[in-house]
């Protein structure tokens, strides 16, 4: 999850089309699925003009655009489908907060599509998806190829269920549902991380565990930032029922709303747990240090005085009468034993050993 800078836009008038984000694809790809209950037609488009042709048909069109760096092409799309320049600007700016905006003849929706890290990476994969939902067409904008909508496409092709017969609003719901379903996959990934960190912390196995906790916390903050506005967003759709949303779709949206609440709830639970993990790690490191200190103190406190006594009788003074006594050596050893025993008893009383 990298930081995207919208700094390059500073000073431009509102509505200026500048792509904020990395260019992640060579060519912008336009693919169109055109369907009605009877037939379905999938194809790749070469020009925007082709898309506008489909617009006139009585079927429902889903135009999926992958790649955002070609601002000229997007302007053309804007002109063809009558999209406000401020909306186009938002589509191009991938550092956007998820939101829904209601216009006279379409809804504009921005969400974050997330997938757990793919093999070999450890970054959660985040991509901004924008949608224009109108009565007769749905346009989706993605940053790069690959999305979570394959199962939707399959269901469209299979032609079973409501999908082929319902309107663009239901299609939009299905896509959002697919995105939210993948949030659960991300939650699973995060839960897995958390469990593994928890084990590491409790068994004090890994010195790098703070780094891992930090990273997980970071991910949780960013995922929450992406999911949280979604809740309000769907709440607005439910409350206001703006034009393209039909009443039939409401129970499904309500279901989606519940899922989003569930995701946010779970994220909050995770955050609380992760905070607890750092505390517990800290407490365990500290406890352990205090144990180490006790061992050092017990050993040092016993032997330092004894070594001193030995040092006394190691001095080379000419006149040290004790040195000549017959039983001096065993007596000194006995004194040493006494000192050691006394200190051990003291430590035992203090419950250090």
């Amino acid at each position: 999850m990298k930081h995207r800078s919208r700094a390059e836009k500073t000073g431009l008038p509102p509505g200026s089309l500048v792509h904020v984000g990395e260019r992640q694809v060579d060519e912008i790809a336009l693919s169109l699925i055109d369907y009605n209950p009877e037939r379905i037609n999938t194809r790749e488009l070469a020009t925007v003009a082709e898309a506008s042709a489909c617009l006139r048909s009585d079927s429902l069109s889903w135009l999926n655009i992958v790649g955002l760096h070609n601002t000229r092409l997007l302007e053309e799309i804007g002109a063809t489908f009558g999209i406000h320049p401020l909306v186009l600007e938002d589509i191009l700016n991938t550092d956007q907060r998820p939101k829904v905006e209601v216009f006279d003849d379409f809804l504009f929706v921005v969400v974050k599509m997330m997938r757990p890290p793919s093999e070999g990476s450890d970054e959660i994969d985040v991509e901004q998806v924008s949608m224009i939902v109108s009565e007769r067409f749905l346009i989706t904008f993605q940053e790069r190829p690959g999305d979570v909508f394959d199962s939707v496409r399959e269901r469209l092709n299979a032609g079973k269920g409501r999908l082929r017969t319902a309107g663009a609003d239901y299609l939009a719901h299905t896509l959002l549902d697919g995105i939210v379903d993948h949030y659960f996959l991300v939650l699973d990934h995060l839960a897995g991380q958390m469990d593994s960190i928890e084990e590491t912390v409790l068994e004090q196995k890994d010195p790098q565990v703070s780094h891992r906790i930090h990273r997980l916390k970071h991910d949780l903050i960013l995922v929450r930032k992406a999911v949280w506005p979604l809740r309000d967003m769907i709440g607005i759709l439910l409350r206001d029922e703006p034009p393209p949303i039909k009443e039939d779709t409401l129970p499904f949206l309500r279901d989606l709303y519940e899922h989003t609440v569930h995701v946010v709830d779970t994220l909050d639970t995770y955050r609380e747990m992760v905070s607890g993990l750092l505390e517990i790690h800290f407490s365990l490191v500290n406890y352990r240090m205090s144990e180490v200190m006790k061992v050092l103190t017990v050993i040092a406190t016993i032997f330092i005085p004894l070594t001193f006594v030995a040092g006394i009788y190691g001095m080379n003074f000419a006149h040290m009468p004790e040195l000549e006594w017959q039983w001096a050596y065993p007596a000194v050893l006995a004194v040493m034993l006494g000192i050691a025993g006394g200190l051990l008893a003291y430590f035992r009383v203090k419950r250090w050993i």
Copy 2:
């Protein structure tokens, strides 16, 4: 309290019946209690068809279904009792947030049944219970055999009190009441844990106390997550009085509401106290370490210089005039005593000893 993954549902259309959770029972068991003020009739059913027969009678039917893995059977139940596929989907998904949903002719309720850990375990036992509450029947769905409803069954059989004469809404309230009553048992269990941990912390008896605090915190977070939505849920029933709820039942629901608020309040109090416990543990470990350090420092600081003096006169230089002096040895001993006394006085002034 294990994590349940709804990941396996990703990509399926809404309303797809997939059992999320472990299969915890071999055969799905259907048991029916059919009663009116005059008579009561309890039996196990073999097929869904038998249940539908009862539906036509003028008595009140409570159908209890244990086991959720047989999706075909549940589809049959859905068809018989006219349950929306989205509801069936929620029943099967045991990773559900407690909620109430109002439909035209029934209420759909999801709650978490909790029991304190049984003998030999230390996991709070959580099970999802779903209810379909209609005017003439109540269907409950459980994950596995064993529940907290035995006292309700006894009271039904005994036939005393309102239970036999009141409607399905009162039966549903009684079941919820039984569930909330068991939350108090769980609270007692958690309070017991907390008291035992508190004692351990204050007396610094157990190195594993951080683990135990962590575990308790974890349990409190999860129990709260399960109880919290219940409050809103009953609040909705009280405010909207949806069809199957009769006015007579409202004071009882209000009572239940108070209990839920009490549980949540108590959980919050516990969480605050548990957070305090970790801090206090930490502070005590630290205090103790500082005491240990003081002992080490006092002993080392006194004896290290003395040992050095002894070392000086242990050197074998040919020309060390002091060594020959008559009173050198006692003089050195006196100097050592002076150093030790001085340092002790210094530590006394610093209030280290």
Copy 3:
């Protein structure tokens, strides 16, 4: 403040009378104060029947019941005064959240009476008081003899002020006012504890100070839990003005409301300060430990190398030419002084000494 378990009630139907709490008195005592502006009559009752007699008079009756373990007697009272079984159940259950419930012909109020610890104890004394406030009588239920109402009784007997002339609602207000007045005594007690702990912390006098902070925090949490709902409760009375509450009493209730807000505010301030105390204690212990470590390090770092040098020349090798040199001994002493001086200078630069 002990934890009371309502676990024993699990599985009983709502409205079952079970006393939750310790039996704290041998016999239930019923005392009745019967008054109107002209005369006042105080006596102890032997049976509930006597109480019901008074009910028919045109004077105002305050029936005070001490002891809750005799459920049969309480059922009799319930029957005599027409109290709903759910209310009786709440009266018996001393693990109750403060609340007010509005019934057709009476108000039901539950509050916590608190007093600072008595001589020789260090537990805040908490007792649940329930009130039934009707147009013509007031019934109070206490757990054990002794309450904060003596000044109210005196004022009733003295017959001055509004008390004798106003209704049961004003009497109820006066009792609540007496209870809230005692909250200020409890606040004073807690403030005294806090000041004494603060002094101990800042002067680092007492190793047990963490225990005391923990205990104070605990008390603050529990007192707040008992006072907090009172605020909403009086707010409800002010907003809804339910029947027995007359308009004349409202300014007094408003006053009471302000007091409760003040108590809660002060408790919150205390909690913040107590949290700060643990942090400051912790910080001071840590600071002190770092000072101790510096002393140890300075002493050890200076003498350990010197002792090593002395050790070198204490070796008994046959061929150690230095040992024979004339000025070797003073030279070694000089070297040692140099090392010590260098290290001292280093520590001075590092600002350790």
Copy 4:
């Protein structure tokens, strides 16, 4: 900021006049400023009767009363100006939460006047000021002589601006404005404290810095507690425009409201920063301790083994062949150097030195 106990009031009926707080002045002083656009008349009064005379005039009267211990005199004032006993009680009780109360013919306002510590003290000076604002007069009650209103008196005398021509509500606003202006002085004082503490913390100069942080935190909590309710209070005046408030005064009150919000905002910012300071202090002490430990460990770890080697060859066994070898001494020195070098290399690798 001392704690004031209202404990002495326990058990008294509402409306009992008891002065809570220290007696801070010998004699109660009554001073009256009587003015209309044409003339102004300032004098000290000996009796309350004199004040009541002025009441009948058509000019505006500001009666300022300093000292609250003479409850009899205050009763007289209450009787003369028709003030409710509950209000008088609140005036006498200096442990009051800032508030506004709307009565039929006057407003009752309680605020806390604050001034930064005077020379030689380090306590913020807090004094409760109560105001009775009516159409034709304003009464202010203070605890002791000296206030922040001198500039108001000067402006009154100068007779410029709105002050002489506007009503009692504008005078009240002006006094409140004077009080809030002094809050900014208190903020400046606190900011000064914070800057000085910050410097001390960052340079680790003063062992007593925890005490100072604690004290500042304490002051911030208490100032906030005094200012916070003011915001709501002025909000109520703005929203309800109770009788003595005229529409002309509203923009000025709105201005005052903004100032109060600004004070509360700033206090919150300060609190956050102060919390950060303790953390940073703690972190720095800890960092420093770890540095000290490293020095100790490096020195001890290098010399303890060397000293042991020297100890070996200081033993007096008869049969220690090495002692006789020609090159034993230089060889041992070389070994020692090797050990020291090896350890230094190890520490360098670990980046401890």
Copy 5:
């Protein structure tokens, strides 16, 4: 970001013009841009009278005033353009909370203009900008030369887009938009700081990292304090649509609102992350210290007993039979090896090495 004191204003009547803040420019500069769709005219003014002349024209005038210390000139402006003295007072006081105030014929807006630190400084550059937005003119007040509006001036001159044709409300929006755009630059700067600190923390490279975290936290608090009220402010404009705001401008304001929410959201995310950084730093320092302690303890615990044994046989008693034994020396060496081995094994079991 320095603290500005409004203390010097204490005691002055409301509406007194006093400049709070540093005098940052020698001469007040007035520059006027006068435009309509056909032509544009930019010039520097010498007197306020010139400005008032322009007022009578039918073109739109943007008067930009740089420097606030000349209160007389500002009074003149106030008189010319009919600005309320309380507004002038707010303009002069640069310690102002961002706000919008609606007057009959103009809007008064206060915002904070922020820029990332310029080369060689590390202070975020904050300057208060006040705006008077009326139907026919816009006046902006700045503290010192240099602003973020150059791109707006260019666009005005270029004459493309809505800017030349729309009203003063759109010009005001454009200026606010320029300011908010620069907030993103400040966010980028803060994000850069955070990333660099994060790296430093995780690699434990820099002892001064606590200082840097403290500073960043400080900056985040202050930036948030400046941005937060902006959100409410634009919300008020959107909700109330006060006179100079035309409906055409609303979508642009909505866009601006979204940006502000985004800035606040991001700041909150940053603050959470920075808090985490200090914790992680702390935890790493502690972990490291515990590692250092282990090394010290292992070395000291092994060698201190050995040195003691060597010390024993270094004593000079006449009667120490062991000294004469043939194999005493190797035996002692073997015992020492045994002790060392035993301790090493013990440490291995304890997992310290």
